[in-house]
Amino acid sequence: MDMMISNLQQQRQITEQLRREAAIKRINVSQAVVDIMKFINEHEQEDCLLVGFSSQKANPFREKSSCTLL
């Protein structure tokens, strides 16, 4: 009998959770994709993996030479 009760409680909780998840407001995939595209567009120029480094000086991973201009 106890098992049935806790089973019931669990079922109730699962159903309540699903009810919450089903009730959320959704936007259209078309709008969602447009928003993602917009973000990517706005940040493309800063993305080193996309546009590379503006100059070797901007690349902190480069080998530092030991010569300096006097």
């Binding site: 049935m4 089903a22 959320i24 259209n28 994709v33 993602i36 595209m37 993996l49 996309l50 991973f61």
Partner: protein
Amino acid sequence: MPPKDPELQKLQQELDDLVKKLKDEQKKVADTTLEAVCGSIPDAPKVRLVTKKLLKGHINKVNSIHFSGDSRHCVTGSLDGKLIIWDTWTGNKVQIIPLRSSWVMSVAFAPSGNFVACGGMDNMCTVYDLNNRDSTGVAKIVRELMGYEGFLSSCRFIDDKTLVTGSGDMKLCMWDLESGKKTQDFDAHAGDVISISLAPDNQTYVTGSVDKSCKLWDVREEKCRQTFFGHESDVNSVCFHPSGFSFATGSEDKTARLWDIRADQQIAQYAPPNANSGFTCCGISLSGRFLMCGSDDTSVHIWDTLKTQHNGTLAGHENRITSLSVAGNGMAVATCSWDQNVRIWV
């Protein structure tokens, strides 16, 4: 044989109806596909990343890697029982922290750079203060977070005072590091929680699990906001898209996928030309244009997120890639592997 409880039956029916309603609502907003919307944009250039630094030092499999918020230092955890803090710009080891347990599975760097956390089969999460040494000259342990009934699989600092952890006992825990006490402790998934990724605004996070689903959580709540189904096997890795609108996943089912939060569904699927291995980790470039997944097949696969094309692979590791981290400023990608090496790709 006792008769089936009528209330239970009623609930089961309601559950089935709700599942159907959810699927219908998702279908309703699926008015187009990612491929259709992005069909006319130009292809992304081929990614040209090479191993700029090959970091050697661990003497066993390296299981986890995470960049600091300064985009320069990263922490790795290995089965050799050590954490190493690396300066990726020079390749130098800044600190070596011997662990009490060598079974480390997950590491995290606080965005501030002040703390690192790690844990694994010791069923604990240990937090080290990198700015304070103990009597042996090693970073001081400031917290040992216990009470897990399963291995620690993932951890992330929300800030210097707050840590979220996922574990093999299927739970998520939120810790207040100042008091050393849990502020939240709840059942999260129907299987091991494997991966956690924080949203760019730190207000929400996603988790991936062995139960094949991913869930979206509000940092203040114990009930999940949304659940995403679709993967056919363990979700090994989740990563928030920098836009905050979506997140990517890498799975044992040999696919990577992109999920939109507000549309509440999967919007893209990515697979390499020869899909023969599961993905263990994933990361997204700064703009969100590239998705990178580390694989069992020793390489990192790269895709154009918008055009879903496979853009290339990063070859170099000689064994399974276990973890991947993209620097916050987007300049580098760090990977670690069972081949004991750490690579910085620039």
